[in-house]
């Protein structure tokens, strides 16, 4: 067990390093001198230009910049944003809260709703399943930004139930959460329902029924847990997707968040911020994977014995 955790941590560090290196290289491969992009379409004096280059060490050879960056990261220093005039850590820190809030709430809603839907619709009459699975397909195939605009038009502009923008209060969270949660929910529901349907055919389910257990009881106490392993896998994978879906939603609902930060940072070649975001998501990935692994063990005792 200890060994397993150690290897896990080892490979995690490897993944982090790889993510940093790959993005560093890719960012420097992108056309456009960092200085030029930073200066953009404004006219600066040569002194200012020299100052910018010196400040960010842009005159150093690439390898030195890379080594310097790695060194600083190891010391826990993510550097200074080129554009935002603040340390990367604090820039990301400021945006992390709202992002986590949105992502967390969306995942939670998605999990709750899809579990409920899956339990209610698995192995039901054909028309119920057909209806729900077609709705799900539509849910998957609508781009998030589109859902977001539609939701706003209906529930904010027309009905006035929820505010269009802003981050204050629960009401402002409702529509963004629905927009982000929709595709996740539909995917989860599909998978969970299929899993449930397979499970409900298992002999142990029949056994539970022969003990006098009700249908709902069987679904909740026995079948549900059996679909948790694939569900957890999917959720782990969806975390990454959620972060992606959030960019459009953040923009449309004028929310703070990592997505917006990333978009501006990549556009403006704000390398330290981009690298910070990369590190953040890589850490998130690693953490999510470890959590998923632990959950596997909690859910399925059969996996505990295996090393």
């Amino acid at each position: 067990m200890i060994r397993r955790i150690l290897t896990r941590l080892g490979t995690s560090v490897l993944v982090l390093w790889g993510a940093v290196t790959v993005s560093f290289t890719a960012l420097h491969l992108t056309p456009g001198n960092v200085v030029d992009v930073l200066i953009g379409s404004s006219i600066v004096t040569p002194e200012v230009r020299a100052q910018i280059i010196a400040d960010y060490g842009l005159d150093e050879p690439l390898f030195v910049q890379y080594a310097t960056y790695l060194g600083r990261v190891l010391r826990g220093d993510l550097g200074q944003s080129y554009q935002l005039h603040e340390p990367v850590a604090s820039a990301i820190g400021a945006q992390l809260g709202p992002s986590l809030q949105l992502a967390g709430a969306s995942l939670l809603v998605a999990v709750v709703v899809s579990t409920t839907l899956a339990i209610l619709t698995a192995r039901r009459r054909p028309w119920i399943r057909g209806l729900s699975s077609n709705l799900e397909l539509i849910g998957v195939s609508i781009p998030t930004f589109w859902t977001a605009i539609l939701l706003l038009t209906i529930f904010s502009f027309q009905l006035g139930w929820f505010p269009a923008v802003g981050a204050d209060g629960l009401a402002a969270l409702v529509l963004p959460v629905i927009a982000v949660a929709l595709p996740i929910t539909t995917m989860l529901t599909q998978m969970m329902r299929e899993g449930l349907e397979l499970t409900l055919e298992q002999p142990f389910v029949l056994t539970a029924r022969t003990r006098g257990m009700s249908d709902l009881g069987v679904r909740l106490r026995h079948a549900l847990r059996h679909v948790l392993v694939p569900t957890v896998t999917l959720i782990g994978w969806l975390v990454g997707l959620t972060v992606g879906a959030m960019v459009a939603v953040e923009q449309i609902f004028s929310r703070q968040g990592i997505g917006q930060l990333t978009l501006t940072a990549v556009g403006g070649k704000d390398l330290p911020v981009v690298m910070g975001v990369v590190l953040l998501t890589a850490v998130l990935y690693v953490v999510v994977n470890i959590v998923v692994d632990v959950l596997y063990l909690l859910i399925d005792p059969r996996l505990r014995g295996a090393t």
């Binding site: 790889g18 992108t30 056309p31 609508i142 781009p143 960019v247 990369v278 890589a282 990935y285």
Partner: protein
Amino acid sequence: MRIFAVAFLALVTLAALAPGLLTGGTPDAADALAALQGPSADHLLGTDANGRDVFTRIVYGAAPSLLAGLGATALAVVVGTALGLLAALGGRVVDEIVMRLVEIVLSLPTLLLALLVITVTGPGTVNVIFAIALYTAPSYARLVRAQTMVIRNAGFVEAAVSLGLGRGRIVTRHVLPNAFEPLVVLATIEVGTALVAAASLSYLGLGPQPPAPEWGAMLSAGRDYFSVAWWIAVFPGVAITLTVLSITVVGRRLQRRIA
């Protein structure tokens, strides 16, 4: 449902291969004087801000849109399969290397990955395909690897060994085709997802360039006019949704066939 899906796909395919059969117009015939006209007999689905016929553009958009969906999926499948097989059959060291690489790609945020690809290569359909393929390929690689690992130990592979079949033949004849099967199912669903992803990238201004009548680009361009001319965005949106829906329905069917 299924009949409808197949019929719709046939129609879309026809539009992609021979758009001229479905519409007489040209997709980029802009006419400022005919801008923003609602659906009518002249313009079945209305006109856009440049006075172009929305129906014609949707018909001509089938090819690039499908190309994005199919292309990205095909590329991802090919690369993913190659990596997955390599990892599963190439021995421990190769496996470690490939899987770590896959994890690295997976650990990068999808958006950033797309942005990086597109900033390196520039926007446009081909690069969008590239970007989407890059972030879906690792999933295929994982699937193929896992699948291959299972199949490698499957009874029929052992049976083939004891029958006296050579290693190469076992891989190409038994391992690969079987590892591929669940992949095909995933891939059909992914075609739709890729289409939507392409649309989302278009929204961020990273997709194909004007005046390409790509659906995602049309959808995102149309949002500016939504309050006065809903048809510009809604019809491409419907086209995307129906295509994804049809592909998924057919994919499901395929899945059941295989299972």
